[in-house]
Symmetry: C2
Subunit: 164 residues, 2 copies
Amino acid sequence: MTPDTRLSHLVAVLKRRRCRLTPQRLAILRLLAQSVGHPSIEEIYERLQGEFPTMSIATIYKTVTLLKELGEVLELSFPEEGVKRYDGAKPYPHPHLICVRCRRILDPEIGSLTPLVETAGRLTGFRILSHRLDLYGVCPECQAREEGREWQAPAPLQQGQGGI
Amino acid sequence: MTPDTRLSHLVAVLKRRRCRLTPQRLAILRLLAQSVGHPSIEEIYERLQGEFPTMSIATIYKTVTLLKELGEVLELSFPEEGVKRYDGAKPYPHPHLICVRCRRILDPEIGSLTPLVETAGRLTGFRILSHRLDLYGVCPECQAREEGREWQAPAPLQQGQGGI
DNA sequence: CTTCATGCAAAACATTTGCAGCTGG
DNA sequence: CCAGCTGCAAATGTTTTGCATGAAG
């Protein structure tokens, strides 16, 4: 699903709920529909400063909370940095890969967790509703950078984002 | 590993580091060595009010932070309740099963995540260091309670903790 | 026009920090 | 003794809330 399609969907959802589409809201939706880097409230605020210099951070909190309640945004808390990050592109549970050095967040294409989750449900009698899997590590770029310090001649940076 | 063994280990770790074993600290260690229900700071504070009515909550924060830095306590943030919970019994990454109704936390005995984690590492080039898997659902007891509301005659509560 | 969103400021909240005094070893 | 811990209070940083103004529909 492209960011544009996703944006249209978010707009449609708000319209159906008879929520107002103010310019501020639309801009927030646009950022969340892409969710590049899984932005925090603060980051959304900063990225929109140019377009809306007077916008209050409370407005962003309120819009994000609204979308969260509608199930259209995934909230990811990162206590290490004391912030919550948001994914409006894929609002359903999916694994995240977090670089502990540069704090980049990737969506790795690993197999479904469904079998694992079903097993856990059977064993414990729980009715499983949701899940969260975070993998913490060092991304290829940061690994190269660290090796560079020790060895002086680092391996060339890999292209792309390290995904396949 | 029994709670007593775990407590001895924690005491030994602090001694090795030449940290002082005050009565307050020992009491905190005792609670964390069991970590029944994965207590929050506030819960540790309340449970120790009887024994140490004048103890400051800052003392608990400081001791828990110390143990966290020594790798002897696992910190689990739960933004939904706005608290962090602690596991001093199993300070290494392991899956958690959280009841969204009664907030109980269990350690399900599901298979290792290692293959999954290794796959993700290979596919993305990340050096994986750690992970966190939380499964959210409704525990057997809360399921029975909910059915009871609709049907009037609930199935008998299951014994044990729902685990196997 | 009416309702709802905005923006500001104050409040709420968990957590951290500074520091004087106490105490474990 | 005296380094390091305790307890209190103040500070911090994020998130929430109340309310008057303003704009969407």
